[in-house]
Subunit: 250 residues, 2 copies
């Protein structure tokens, strides 16, 4: 380990160990939810000290790639539906109470080439050719029984092959843990661009508001554990009583 990999990428040993472990997770050697070998075993395998190995594990834990359980072991982080919502669903009422949203899938289809293949925007975000295969979904999300959000999702076809043939009803409310279980794609970070726009006729119908009403438009790009963009979605939502919440720095 020591001298062998030193030149690969970044110098410090703990970073090399960290990247190696991350790669092994991404490769599927350790699936989400399974436990890694214990610290002393890993330290032995990598020929590094306890402290150096722990530093690698701690950073991966801070980045939500691993979960530590004192007395039990260290597991690959699993996206249960609660955690996924907690991390990625930024809408809540002012008092901070979070009602969990439900969703209804309206349609799913794939496109390629001239027939609804990747748009300019999609090819740019996913780093694929214009016209390459993409899969698109439309959903409506509800909160407290009321329609909240009119949602358009795009997925790169190469990664999510076959999802377009899944019956709509069997695609679960919480997509991200489904992605993890079905495609071994773990959503681990996202960027969002928020703006205020007028509800179009489509939004109006779905959200049961008048066209032209101000709605919050959230454009999200999601990244997997290795930082590759794997989902793009646009959500138009009304915000009476609800807010897009964000914490800065810390």
């Amino acid at each position: 380990m020591k001298e062998a990999m030193r030149t690969l990428k970044s110098n410090p040993l703990y970073k090399l160990v960290k990247e190696s472990i991350l790669a092994r997770i991404a490769d599927g050697e350790w699936a989400p939810g399974t436990f890694l070998p214990c610290e002393t075993a890993l330290a032995g395998e990598y020929q590094v000290s306890h402290g150096t190995l722990r530093r690698a594990l701690n950073e991966l834990t801070r980045e939500h790639r691993l979960t530590r359980y004192q007395g039990k072991g260290t597991a690959v982080a699993i996206l249960d539906s609660h955690q996924a919502l907690f991390k990625f669903f930024q809408i809540r009422s002012k008092d901070g109470g979070r009602s969990l949203p439900t969703s209804k899938n309206l349609m799913i289809y794939s496109g390629v080439g001239d027939r609804e293949g990747a748009t300019e925007e999609e090819s740019r975000t996913f780093g694929i050719e214009p016209g390459a295969a993409v899969i698109r979904m439309r959903r409506v999300r509800f909160i407290d029984q009321r329609p909240l959000c009119n949602e358009y999702i795009s997925l790169p076809g190469a990664i999510f092959q076959g999802i377009e043939d899944v019956p709509l009803e069997t695609i679960p409310n919480t997509l991200y843990d489904y992605f993890q279980q079905r495609f071994n794609v773990t959503i681990s970070s996202a960027k969002e661009w928020v703006s205020a726009v007028r509800a179009d006729v489509d939004d109006a119908k779905v959200l049961e508001i008048e066209a032209g009403t101000p709605v919050l438009r959230v454009e999200r790009v999601c990244f997997d554990i290795m930082g590759k963009p794997v989902e793009r979605r646009v959500s138009n939502m009304h915000t009476d009583g609800y807010y897009y919440y964000s914490e800065l720095a810390g």
Copy 2:
């Protein structure tokens, strides 16, 4: 240090050291921009090992309370105007380019008791009595010469005494480094609630748009280094060409 403080709050030694250092910064013992004693000196003072002390300093660094300079020393983090904008100004164009905003202060005044003292909302956010002294500012912020944002700021009067007498023109564009220099109040985190509303007549006039146009409303509460709320602001902004940007997890 060891046994003396162990019972104060949280158990681990490095946390006690961390909290002690944080408190000394808040007390003003080390002002923003000044260097702390070197690690060996601090370790000696606290009677802890090098590693334990470093762990405290590293966590404070990760929380942007300290800044480390290899070969030079460790300094109390300073909010230069660039950093403050980088951390707290979430508006940018889609391509990620950030034009720096400028601002124009329209008015500043203080109120207390029946005459514009703390509102219900303000007393709740600041934890002060309704009617207690507050200071309010109004500003317009520009980006690329165009009006972007109509802004209302509230400050607790007890903390920012005297600011209401400062001539409007001399209050700088970037408030947060001014707060730090003038009042030793370092803004270190914030929470924001974003919604979409219709521009009112005031917004319309200031932003040069039509009343009723959708605008992004950002309500922000800022916290100082010890987590005390010290500023509340409401910004209504048009978003043609600009977005409120947010990164989730990581």
